[in-house]
């Protein structure tokens, strides 16, 4: 029962979604299942929070390496959650001044807003910005023209790196552009493509799109087959091992 019920729910929900897509009269069934999914997704936040508490508390109680970070994670989680849920420092909504909790949790000046503005924003931006440093270091150490494939990759990288900046336009400005020509000949179009900004578009449009389409079709076929296996109950790995 513990495995059969989830299996049935997944199977019925999956088939309803398929049927709803092809039969217009059953469209509302699909909408209902989608709403259930959204409700479950919201509940998953609570489960996720609970799981975070469980894992981090275990790490701290076992004094495993890095338990200090787990403590910081826990404190940050609890403080942020309390400030948001209890709307600490928030002023009541002007329409309902008698109700203390009628204001929004993220009003300017509240502790929640402060932590978002001065902790989350700079931390996330810093982590993202650090990529530039590591990419530069990796480019110097690992980007070697060792074989034909690597040379092609290098050439493409140069074109894209230059083509995505004003340098691309400046360096190949001497090549005539076909933009201002009303009916450009094939040769004029070909020559114009050699401009770095156009070459970038050409690479993205032709080679990148062709490669990505092939990958996407492959993924779609794989997804369809795996989905069918799940709906028919052949693949039950998503239910877990059943051992707690």
């Amino acid at each position: 029962m513990k495995r059969t019920a989830p299996l049935l729910i997944a199977s019925i929900a999956g088939f309803v979604m398929i049927v709803a897509y092809f039969i217009p009269k059953t469209q509302t069934w699909g909408e209902d299942v989608s709403v259930w999914f959204d409700i479950l997704a919201a509940i998953a936040f609570i489960l996720g929070g609970g799981n975070l508490l469980r894992v981090q508390l275990k790490k701290i109680s076992d004094r495993r390496p890095g338990w200090g970070y787990a403590l910081i994670t826990l404190i940050a989680f609890v403080v942020m959650l309390a400030c948001g849920l209890l709307k600490i420092g928030s002023h009541p909504n002007e329409q309902y001044p008698a109700f203390a909790w009628s204001g929004t949790y993220n009003q300017t000046g509240t502790p929640f807003w402060w932590m978002y503005e001065y902790l989350i924003v700079p931390l996330q931006s810093t982590i993202f910005a650090m990529l530039a440093f590591y990419v530069a270091s990796a480019a110097f150490r690992a980007f070697r023209a060792k074989n034909v494939e690597a040379i092609l990759l290098l050439g493409t990288a140069f074109v894209i790196l230059l083509g995505r900046t004003a340098a691309g336009v400046f360096l190949t400005d001497f090549i005539p552009s076909d933009v201002l020509i009303e009916n450009p000949t094939f040769l004029q179009h070909l020559v114009s493509t050699l401009r770095l900004e156009n070459l970038t578009v050409f690479l993205m449009d032709i080679f990148n799109t062709a490669g990505n389409r092939a990958i996407m079709i492959g993924i779609a076929l794989g997804t369809a087959s795996v989905s069918l296996k799940i709906l028919l109950g052949v693949d039950r790995s998503y239910l877990g091992s059943g051992e707690d």
């Binding site: 909504n93 931006s125 530069a136 995505r164 996407m216």
Partner: protein
């Protein structure tokens, strides 16, 4: 010199990258200059999609990103919002990312409230906020918006919001604009909104650089226009400013073009590093063969 580069400590590279980004930021900030921008076809398509709508059209702006990618996507979100304001479009903001709501608040505070205070909440723009469920949210709101959005982000019932009157689903929107940093994002909007209703929902998007190659296969039928990273934002921004900017444009509306400066110098550094690394590699290989 060769030995220096061969054993180059990564901290030197970090320092070079820091200078390559910091110096242009300082120079551009001081002299208020930007590089000339030449808009390409995808940015022009995005501009035309928004500009060709009749004034006062209904536009859904989905801000699916967070502070981590604000540096790359913030300027295009600003440009989208400004363009919609200039065209007097009705703006419906939503977010599929938890922190997307804050990104919407940023746009509202920095642009609408600061520079266009005459625009009224609920009549000219509305913030419907964040909803959990990723593509599940899109799947529901394409047919029934009110099933999920019973209130806006302030808790006001959607029935009480004037610009929500008569809005049943997003098929009634004249255009969907998505600013996307990953999952859920533009790909999900294409798959769950545009693909089932190709004649009713039109979508243009702006995305991060790493996402752009994955979205090219949807161009042009499912995705007529795409702004790829800060370069795309810069091209689009230059188009918006050329038509609606006027004189004495505030710096916040030129942010994408300004950020092209650090990007140019950083890209040149990357090219230099790749060439230097390869020179070292070939010299070492030659020496190895001789030995």
């Amino acid at each position: 010199m060769f030995e220096f580069f061969r054993n180059l400590d990564r901290r030197w590279i970090f320092l070079m990258m820091f200078l390559c980004v910091a110096v242009p930021i300082f120079v551009i900030g001081k002299y208020k200059t930007t590089f000339p921008e030449k808009p390409l076809v995808l940015a022009t398509n995005v501009f035309n999609e928004i500009d060709n709508l009749p004034d006062g059209s209904k536009v859904l702006l989905a801000f699916d990103y967070d502070p981590g990618s604000e540096g790359e996507l913030g300027p295009m979100a600003t440009a989208f919002t400004l363009h919609c304001i200039k065209k007097h479009h009705k703006m419906y903001f939503i977010a599929l990312w938890p922190l997307g709501r804050q990104m919407i608040d940023n746009a509202v505070n920095r642009i609408i409230k600061a520079d266009f205070p005459h625009l009224r909440y609920g009549e000219d723009y509305v913030n419907l906020g964040f909803k959990a469920g990723n593509e599940g949210v899109i799947k529901v709101i394409v047919t029934d918006l009110r099933k999920l959005y019973t209130t806006d982000s302030r808790g006001t019932a959607t029935d009480e919001i004037p610009m929500m009157q008569g809005i049943e689903n997003i098929q009634q929107m004249d255009l969907v604009i998505n600013v996307s940093a990953g999952y859920p994002g533009t790909k999900e909007w294409v798959q769950y909104a545009v693909t089932p209703f190709p004649d009713r929902i039109r979508l243009v998007a702006g995305c991060t650089g790493v996402q752009a190659p994955l979205l090219y296969p949807y161009i042009p039928q499912q995705l007529p226009g795409l702004l790829a990273a800060i370069k795309g934002a810069s091209e689009y921004e230059s188009l918006v400013m050329a038509k609606y900017g006027g004189e004495n444009i505030s710096g916040k509306y030129l942010e994408a073009q300004r950020r092209m400066g650090p990007q140019l110098v950083a890209h040149l550094l990357m090219i230099f590093l790749i060439i230097a690394g390869n020179v070292i590699y070939f010299v070492e290989r030659r020496r190895g063969v001789r030995q």
